[in-house]
């Protein structure tokens, strides 16, 4: 009885359910095709001697030449290794720091004074909405040698005789970059954990307190386990993004003194491709980047399967 009505309804509207479902999914499939697969057409540039403005069919096809260039000489290989090292170190540092937002969220949630908690949260979240260009102007205003705050302060205190150009110093540059990154993202990243903490059953806390648990014991035995799930999902996602750690930050902070150490893969592609006009070579590099990313994702997924028993793919 039931099935016959369904069939009848379907014929009346002219469309069986399976097509309807497909139609509903179609817009999103198309979006993915246009914005995620369409741009892959640009990969073709890696196989040509591409000069902007001239149609592809009028350019000379060179096969895998640009990929070979990548490993053509020992120095070139060293360059690739240098850039990969920078990328991996920066990513590892950022992943290592991903526990900080967790800790921050936990401590923030322990604050009982409402206005103070809110103020702290707003102040730490705000930097996320400032673009890296503005962050750099801020850094410049603080650290420049001519009238930068720090130099002026140290000079008037008599600590310094000659101003120091902090922004041009390559010392501990990885750490400095990591600190800027933390400053910018700490508050924002902790929002997810704050939500997770809010979702923990209050009865658990009450029960623990009645059993005589202290503040840190409550955090350790209830809050932390409660947000671990969220942490692992975010961690896996960030591993998949391991190799694309963005370029804006490094782009604005780069100068000849520190570029050696902060030129990550994305920035290298930009500097050589758009800065140096070698589009084909830059495209070849970024194709390799996609391949490495894909490999990393599968490795992370495999690890997740072994360690936690479930996968995200």
């Amino acid at each position: 009885m039931n099935t016959t009505t369904v069939v009848r309804k379907a014929t009346r509207h002219g469309l069986p359910d399976k097509y309807k479902l497909f139609l509903m999914a179609l817009p999103f499939i198309l979006l993915v095709l246009v914005f995620s697969y369409g741009p892959l057409f640009g990969w073709a540039y890696a196989f040509f001697d591409y000069r902007p403005g001239i149609p592809l069919d009028a350019q000379s096809f060179v096969g895998l030449k640009w990929f070979q260039t990548l490993i053509s000489s020992p120095v070139q290989r060293q360059e690739v290794i240098r850039v990969m090292t920078n990328t991996i170190v920066m990513s590892l540092l950022n992943i290592a720091c991903s526990v900080l937002p967790v800790a921050f969220a936990v401590f923030l949630s322990e604050i009982k004074v409402g206005w103070y908690k809110k103020t702290v949260q707003i102040l730490t979240t705000l930097p996320n909405f400032i673009s890296w260009v503005l962050v750099y102007s801020f850094a410049y205003a603080l650290f420049n040698t001519n009238n930068g705050f720090i130099n002026m302060l140290m000079k008037s205190l008599g600590v310094l005789e000659r101003p120091i150009n902090f922004l041009a110093s390559p010392d501990h540059i990885w750490l400095k970059m990591c600190l800027w990154h933390i400053w910018k993202t700490l508050g924002w990243s902790s929002i997810m954990y704050l939500a997770a903490i809010a979702g923990i059953d209050q009865e658990l806390y009450e029960a623990a307190r009645i059993d005589g648990a202290g503040r840190f014991q409550v955090i350790w035995h209830i809050t932390i386990p409660g947000i671990m799930e969220t942490y692992f999902v975010l961690l896996l996602l960030s591993i998949a993004n391991f190799i694309s750690n963005g370029m804006e930050q490094y782009f604005v902070f780069q100068n000849p003194m520190n570029r050696n150490k902060i030129e990550v893969l994305d920035l290298y592609v930009y500097n050589i491709g758009l800065g140096g006009g070698s589009f084909s070579y830059a495209t070849a590099v970024s194709i390799l980047k996609s391949i490495v990313s894909l490999t990393l994702l599968f490795v992370a997924n495999g690890l997740s399967k072994v360690i936690r028993g479930n996968t995200i793919l």
Partner: protein, 595 residues
């Protein structure tokens, strides 16, 4: 209900499909040669309609030389409006992304109405021509009908452009700084290079003489000790540099070559070529000029003479510092903003102090013009009006206006038709930021100067109307007037009226004349371009690190590391290719094919 849902879905799908079929065409349109639609876009405008100025024409000027972006302001804007019913919207790569901006514009298939190419642009111009982005000035007899100035006054410049870019047939543009004839250096009162130092301090030290550039350092140190702070109390330095003009090397380090008669022709190919003699030298030569230059800066930094901000600041910051008196030394004559009337009246100023081994690089007046080329875009809205405008700008009247403002505002014809400064003109001469009355367009004089071109006719060319050079500094009436206590001191000591006089008198010039290469311009292969880009990044980076190295040992190890890396990345190939070009140029010089 379900029907409506189904309908909405279908509609949505249809919309998306339209969006999708349109989408893949976007790359297709950028990839189809703009050649196809270029003639259709330009043909009717040029041939049928003739010159019609009824409508305000906002000219998109895509400039690779301008340091100003936006609508042309001030007195030149008023001329454009009144004379041509035009305004210029300047798109300046210098301010908006550099080479990447250029690449984006190239890929979009439209370079705007007027296109002004910068240094090292042979490849860029050739690419733009191959991509069909530039208009042939012979199309629809554009040049014949509206460009008589070019045909009559600058035929050799057109021939040169034809040979370089148009396979001997097509004319795609006109070089900058062209001249009616070629008679000696094209500079005015000062050469491009000095060196220029704080004359008052130098004089107080008894004017010690120099044989080499290196000998300046101890004297500069003494000068710094004499004058440790600027007008506003900031610390002084001998050298304050900026890095945003670097490309394949440290721009400042290259200037050492120019003081010895060598330049790299702004190609960025890392080879010094002598202006007059058939000699060249690699940037990476052991103990060569580039090395010695870096060493000079390194030593200066060790002595506390280099502004630590050099690496992070920009050109504009340095200009401000110079005006404030924070900088004691300059390679260039064009960064002497310190010489304001207030300073010079007190006897302070930056003036040229030569050294014995100097041979300063100089550009000859050229009937071919320089490589910075002004072209018309293939998709220009109205090529006729653009040609009409260019024709005027390159004319005698246009050139006078370009350099000195409109007749009647800053200058007038005096007795015997010789140009003289008006009262306002004298004010402007002493202070280029003088405010202009509204009837002339308002704003500061300096802001109102033409931004679209790096120079049309060379300003030292002698006008056919007045019989005097276009540059007001060289007018008889101005030379008589132009004096101040600091300059008088300098003149007395040097025994000449201008820095140029000094170099000419002592034969210390290495004059470069533009070569006419019968085979046309050469183009670098993509392989070599890629090598140049990677090598260039290394050389630029290491150069700065060497200057700021903490010890001599570090300096030397960075130098050899840089050399190893550059050669490892294929520098020899780039060198061979560039030397080949230099040899061709020497052959052209030998045959007298340079102007």
């Amino acid at each position: 209900m379900k029907k409506t849902i189904a309908l909405t879905l279908a509609l949505l799908l249809a919309l998306l499909l339209i969006g999708c079929t349109a989408k893949p065409q976007t790359p297709a349109t950028t990839d189809t040669p703009p050649k196809d639609d270029a003639p259709t876009a330009t043909a009717p405008a040029a041939a049928d309609e003739g010159l019609n100025m009824d409508e305000l024409y906002t000219v998109q000027v895509f400039s690779m030389t301008s340091n100003y972006a936006g609508i042309q302001p001030g007195w030149f804007a008023k001329i454009l409006k009144d004379k041509f019913n035009m305004e210029h919207n300047i798109i300046a790569t210098n301010l908006e992304g550099g080479d990447s901006k250029l690449a984006t514009m190239m890929a979009s298939g439209d370079l705007g109405d007027l296109v002004v190419f910068g240094d090292n642009s042979v490849d860029t111009i050739k690419n733009a021509i191959d991509a069909g982005l530039l208009l042939d000035w012979n199309d629809n007899d554009l040049l014949q009908t509206y460009g008589q100035t070019f045909l009559q006054e600058f035929p050799e410049a057109l021939e040169y452009n034809k040979a370089m870019f148009g396979n001997g047939e097509k004319v795609y543009g006109i070089g900058y700084n062209v001249s009616y004839d070629s008679k000696g250096p094209n500079e005015g009162t000062d050469m491009i290079w000095g060196p220029y130092i704080r004359w008052d301090l130098y004089e107080a030290l008894g004017c010690p003489e120099f044989t080499t550039l290196e000998e300046f350092l101890p004297v500069l140190k003494q000068m710094q000790e004499m004058c440790p702070t600027s007008d506003t109390g900031k610390p002084t330095y001998a050298f304050s540099m900026w890095s945003d003009w670097d490309n394949t090397h440290m721009m400042f380090a290259k200037q050492y070559g120019a003081m010895h008669g060598y330049n790299d022709g702004d190609t960025g190919n890392l080879l010094f070529i002598n202006g007059a003699e058939p000699k060249y030298e690699s940037f990476l030569e052991e103990n060569g000029m580039y090395y010695r230059s870096l060493k000079l800066f390194y030593d200066a930094n060790q002595m506390g003479l280099v502004d630590p901000d050099s690496i992070s600041q920009k050109n504009a910051d340095v200009t401000a510092k110079i005006a404030d008196g924070q900088v004691l030394f300059s390679y260039f004559s064009w960064v002497t903003g310190y010489n304001t009337p207030t300073h010079t009246a007190e006897g302070k100023g930056m003036y040229m102090v030569p050294f014995k081994n100097e041979k300063v690089y100089s550009y000859a007046q050229s009937t071919y013009g320089g490589i910075r080329t002004t072209c018309i875009g293939a998709k220009a809205k109205d090529p006729v009006r653009l040609m009409d405008f260019l024709n005027w700008v390159y004319s005698d009247e246009g050139t006078m206006t370009y350099y000195n403002g409109p007749e009647g505002m800053a200058w007038n014809y005096g007795e015997e038709g010789k140009p003289e400064l008006t009262e306002l003109g004298v004010q402007i001469y002493n202070n280029s930021t003088t405010v202009i009355p509204d009837e002339w367009g308002g704003g500061e004089y300096e802001d109102g100067r033409p931004k679209f071109s790096p120079g049309t006719v060379t300003n030292t060319t002698v006008s056919k109307v007045t019989g005097e050079p276009f540059l007001n500094k060289l007018w008889t009436s101005v030379l008589d007037m132009d004096t101040n206590p600091a300059l008088e001191n300098w003149r007395e000591h040097m025994g000449v009226r201008t820095a140029k006089d000094y170099f000419v008198k002592n034969n210390l010039l290495s004059i470069y004349k533009v070569p006419f290469l019968p085979d046309g311009a050469r183009m670098m292969s993509q392989d070599l371009e890629q090598k140049k880009a990677t090598i260039g990044q290394i050389v630029q980076e290491y150069s700065w690190r060497m200057v700021f190295a903490s010890s001599e040992a570090e300096f030397d190890s960075l130098w050899s590391e840089m050399r190893d890396k550059a050669y490892g990345l294929g520098y020899q190939e780039l060198l061979d290719w560039t030397v080949e070009g230099a040899e061709a140029e020497f052959a052209a010089r030998e045959a007298g094919l340079n102007q």
